[in-house]
Symmetry: C2
Subunit: 250 residues, 2 copies
DNA sequence: AAGTGGTCTAGACCACCGA
DNA sequence: CGGTGGTCTAGACCACTTG
C-alpha cells in the first residue's frame, strides 16, 4: 500500500453562486495544489468518487479537471488516474501587455510617451491592420522603464476610430487595459519573437550602445469579431528581459 | 437578410471508425475552414442544428467546436453564435523540436553531432534535471543546418539512463522523435526566450561574427510522470530564425 | 421575445492500464 | 480481471445578445 497517496481535500460548492460549479471545483483543487494540500505527484480520487463527494455529476467534475489539465496543473491517464504535475508551471505568455506583466511581478513600471499622433499607413502597417495603404492610423511610441532603467521601446499602430487615447492615460495604464475598458475584447494575437542589433536611435533611447542584441516582438492582435485592432513592434533590452512560457501537450 | 452568411458544409461521420465522433466533426470543420468552404467571418449554424445535421448529440458537437475554439479557429459568443476567426492562425510553438519544425515547413534540415557523451552535472544542470550535483548526465551538442547554412547550436542534457542515443540516429532524426519512440511521453515544458551576443566559439560554428545578436531558448521538458527528461540551451542565428506563436484568449 | 451558447444531469458503453 | 479515464446520449434550465 506504499503507492502514491490519494488525497481528499475538503470540498464544498455553493449552488446559489453565479460562479459555475465546475469552476468552483477547479478553483478549490487549484488552491489545494498551490498551498500543498495536493502535493506534486499525488493522485486524485477517481471522477466518480469526486462527483459523489461534491454532490455533482461526473461530466461536471470532468470539466473541472479538464480545466486544470489545460492549465498544466494535472495530468490524466486512462486506466491510471489523475495526478498533480510535478513540474512547476510558470505563467505562460498571455494576452497581456508588458505593463500588466511588470505590475503583476511586483515591479514598478513607468511609461514615457514619445509620440502619439496619426499618419498615413505604409504598406506593412496597412497590410497588418487590413486597411488601404495611406489610410490614417494612430501611431504610438512609448518608452517603458522600471525605476530609472529603460526596458523597452514600444511602437504601436491602431485604427484611428477605435479608441480615444491621451498621453496622460497611457502614462498611467497599459494600452491593453485601456482597450479592454473601451469595450475592445482581444481574442487572438499572432506574435513573432526574434532578435537583432540596436539601431543608433534605439540605443540612445534604451541607454545601450549601438549594435547590442535586442529582443524583438511584433504582434498583431484581433478582437472577438476578428478585426485587427493593434499592430505592435517592440524591442526589449535583452540584458533585462526575456519571455517565459509553459507549453502543455494536449 | 444581408447578415453574415451561415454556411452548411457537407457532413458525414463514420460510427465504425475508432476516431472519436467529436474529432471527426472537428476535422471536417477545420478542413472546410482551411479550404475556404467556411470563409473567415462566416457563421456556423447553431449547435442544435449541427447536431441534427450530423446525427449527433449536442454535447458531442460542442466538444468538436470547443476543440477548434482552443485551436483558435472559431470564436463563440453567447447569444450571438459561432464564427470563423478572421485572423490567420499560425502554428503555435508546440512540444516539437526544431528538426520537426523544419521538416514540417518543407525545408531540408541536417544535423552535425558535435558531442555525445557523459559528464558530471554542474549545479545548474543538476537543479534543472533534479539530480544531485556531480551525477553523470548525458550531454549532446549538435549543429543544425538547412542546406549548407548553419542555423542553430543545440546543447541538451539528459539523464543517462533515459534512452540510448547514437550519433547516427541523431543525425537522421530529431531528439524529441527519438524520445517519443523510446516511450517517453513529453507533457510539459518551461521555456525562456531571450537574446544575447555570440561568443567566439558560437560565432565560428554558426558562421557569424563574434557579438552578433543570437536568439536563445532554454527549455526544461517533463514527461507524464513529472520527471524532468531534457534540459536544453539553444542558440539560433537571429538573421535566419524567429519564433512564431498564436495566442488565444479563453 | 427569440435565439444563441453556457451549464448541468444521470445514466451508458468502451478502451486502456496494471496486477 | 477490476479500475480508470474517454466518449456519448437526450434531455433540462439558465444567461446573454440582439432586434
Amino acid at each position: 500500500m506504499d503507492r502514491t497517496a490519494v488525497h481528499r481535500p475538503a470540498v464544498s460548492v455553493d449552488r446559489t453562486s453565479p460562479v459555475p460549479l465546475y469552476f468552483q471545483v477547479a478553483q478549490q483543487l487549484e488552491a489545494a495544489i498551490r498551498d500543498g494540500g495536493l502535493p506534486p505527484g499525488s493522485r486524485l480520487e477517481n471522477e466518480i468518487l469526486l462527483a459523489d463527494r461534491y454532490g455533482l455529476s461526473r461530466p461536471t467534475i470532468r470539466q473541472a479537471i479538464q480545466h486544470l489539465v489545460d492549465k498544466g496543473l494535472l495530468v490524466r491517464k486512462r486506466g491510471v488516474g489523475t495526478q498533480v504535475v510535478q513540474a512547476q508551471v510558470r505563467r505562460s505568455i498571455e494576452l497581456t501587455s508588458l505593463y500588466d506583466d511588470l505590475l503583476a511581478s511586483g515591479r514598478s513600471p513607468s511609461t514615457r510617451v514619445l509620440e502619439l499622433g496619426t499618419l498615413p499607413a505604409d504598406d506593412e502597417v496597412a497590410r497588418e491592420l487590413d486597411v488601404a495603404p495611406g489610410t490614417e492610423v494612430l501611431r504610438l511610441r512609448r518608452l517603458r522603464l522600471t525605476g530609472d532603467e529603460p526596458l523597452a521601446l514600444l511602437t504601436n499602430y491602431l485604427p484611428v476610430d477605435l479608441v480615444a487615447l491621451t498621453a496622460e492615460d497611457l502614462a498611467a495604464r497599459g494600452l491593453y487595459e485601456m482597450l479592454r475598458t473601451a469595450g475592445v475584447n482581444l481574442r487572438i494575437a499572432n506574435q513573432t519573437i526574434g532578435a537583432r542589433g540596436a539601431t543608433a536611435i534605439e540605443a540612445r533611447l534604451l541607454d545601450e550602445r549601438r549594435g547590442v542584441p535586442l529582443l524583438t516582438m511584433t504582434r498583431v492582435a484581433y478582437d472577438d469579431k476578428g478585426r485587427p485592432v493593434e499592430y505592435g513592434c517592440h524591442v526589449y533590452r535583452a540584458s533585462r528581459y526575456s519571455f517565459a512560457l509553459t507549453l502543455v501537450e494536449r
